[in-house]
Amino acid sequence: MTVSAVSVEPKTSSDPHLAPELCIKLHDTMLKTRVLEERLITMYKQGDGYFWIGGPGEEAFNVPLGMLVHKGQGVEHDYLHLHYRSSGTLLAMGADPVDSLRQMKNTATDPYSGGRNFAGHYSARKWNVVPISSPIEVQFSMASGTAMAQKRHGGKGITIVQGGDAGTAEGDFATCLVWSSRKGNEVPVLMIVTNNRWGISTSYDGQHGEKYIADRGKAFGIATAVVDGNDPEVAYHALKKAMDYVRTERRPFLLEASVSRLYGHSSASGANFNKVETDCLARFEAKLEERGVLTRKAMDDLRAKYTQELLEATKRVREEPQPDGKTIYDFVFADRNIVGKDH
């Protein structure tokens, strides 16, 4: 079977609108995600955490991604190899935002790492969310492994791997291109590059010879697309198409989405709102208002409600226990196999 690589110039509005109910759901989770991230930033600034990193500015892409995931545990379901800007995806999958506060506050109750890891470093075996780790791009070296297991198993489960633009300079990105496209051994992996045109303080310009990063897939016969990740409807369609392709063809797809970095890189760079970048949430809200799907007031009320809820949750989380020093020796070795069958 041969597949011609498809590349799409960024497009913003040619796709038809999504149904109002879906738009409302998208908006709800995008808003909740934004409020969560702003809460986490505030927690950091008020000394309720040591470090913040997250995805405000990527909601329009990451929320549809989470909605479209075939969620569950094991090879029948999708595996997710994400990075540290994926709150929108997790919330869309049903994660409790309060758990993110717990990780921010590094409490013993943090379900993702027990107070060990930074905010935004999710792990959820029940949903095939592989532990997010800080090193850039290593997830791309692991992704073809889960995808290979899925190809072998049959069914519709796919692997989704996501990272930033700067990180594609690491050899691991190339590793994923190579290992996913071996002739006759192609695997069902959707590679996603969320391109905010920055790596911490380093601009895209001057570091990349590529016009589109996605073009790197073409030499490998990998199907590619480039989309406006600031538009949730465009993103939804593009993701759906790419995922359908991967699910059905059992072959790789490389999707590049342009996104914003609305609060800078992380708390290390101040975590202040950037007025120059496109705010996907504001843009979507304007559209929804214009289309009469939601009123300004309804959206403001919803924001106030989520804000209040998470503020109160912060107070509760503050009272939750910190991990004990002795627990550093817990979970060094497993005594039985929990990811597969036990032998």
Partner: protein
Amino acid sequence: MATLVQAIRMGLHVGEERLGVTDIFGEDVGPPLGGVFTATQGLKTAWNSPLDERGVIGTAMGLALAGQKPVCEIQFSDYIYNTIDLLKLAGSMYWSSNGDWNLPMVCMTPVGAGIRGSIYHSHSFDATATHIPGWKIVMPSNPLDAYGLLLSAIADPNPVFYLAPKALLRVKAGPGELLPGEPADEKALSKMIDAPVGDRTTWKPEWPNLETLFVPIGKAKTVRPGKHVTVVSYGRTLPLSVKAADELMAEGIDAEVIDLRSLHPYDWEAIAESVKRTNRVVFVNEETEITNFGEHLIRRTVDELFYHLHAPPKLVAGAFVPGIGLADNLERASVPQKNDIAEAIRATALHTP
């Protein structure tokens, strides 16, 4: 009498048949070659990977996360050093997810000198491996342990390094050390499981009916009891240590030799029990000697057994130079030889304060 490499191959076969191994892979691991040392010939789940060690380790991690049981190979441990970050990640996955995901994978790699492999086919890996938390590490020095440790490594729910001493791969099992189910006639065995020279496209191995045998990870083996001095070693230097000890009997020195076999967790009890009896200890390995695992064992020895010692604990290890040179003289001067070990045992045994 299987060779060590045949024992590995049979262990992998049993791993496929009975322990759920799904993938045995790496560079040149699959047909037609079946591994540069023949370790993976004829195995039904063996396949060739791209020439990319990071992909090998990463893919093994992905397979393990998806409930498979991969055994991956790095062709020579010399070529594992571009993956240390991934190995650290693998070792930390269970811990950093607070017990959410374990990672059951085996990483095999041939280690050490002794085959005139020059700068990039002579490396040891035990110093680096023992410094990566979250991995278990085994290193057999004979076919029976090679088999039994491999089955334990495969059955373990954690990532396990399986370090195969290159120089011993063709070494045969001693008398009475048949693998359970192995045919007694070594020629018959070879006919059954060694791929023919030349065209192999239609060849299929005929596997003996093997039983499982689990050598527990973390248990050392006293291969030569003795009373004057304890020698702790593993891998290529283990049989050399035994030979050195045997020869020293002529001088009236009776050394006890322990094959550590597992480097993490390691059998401290066995070491301590022996040192408490002999009051003298020599640690032998072939890694370069600065920040060497044997130095950890010495540290623990002085920490816990200081007043049992009648002589300073000694390390025999590789010279701290950037490579192992090709010429005989260079290789010999770089890694411990039998005489170097004998000298250290003798000096330690005869040491008087």
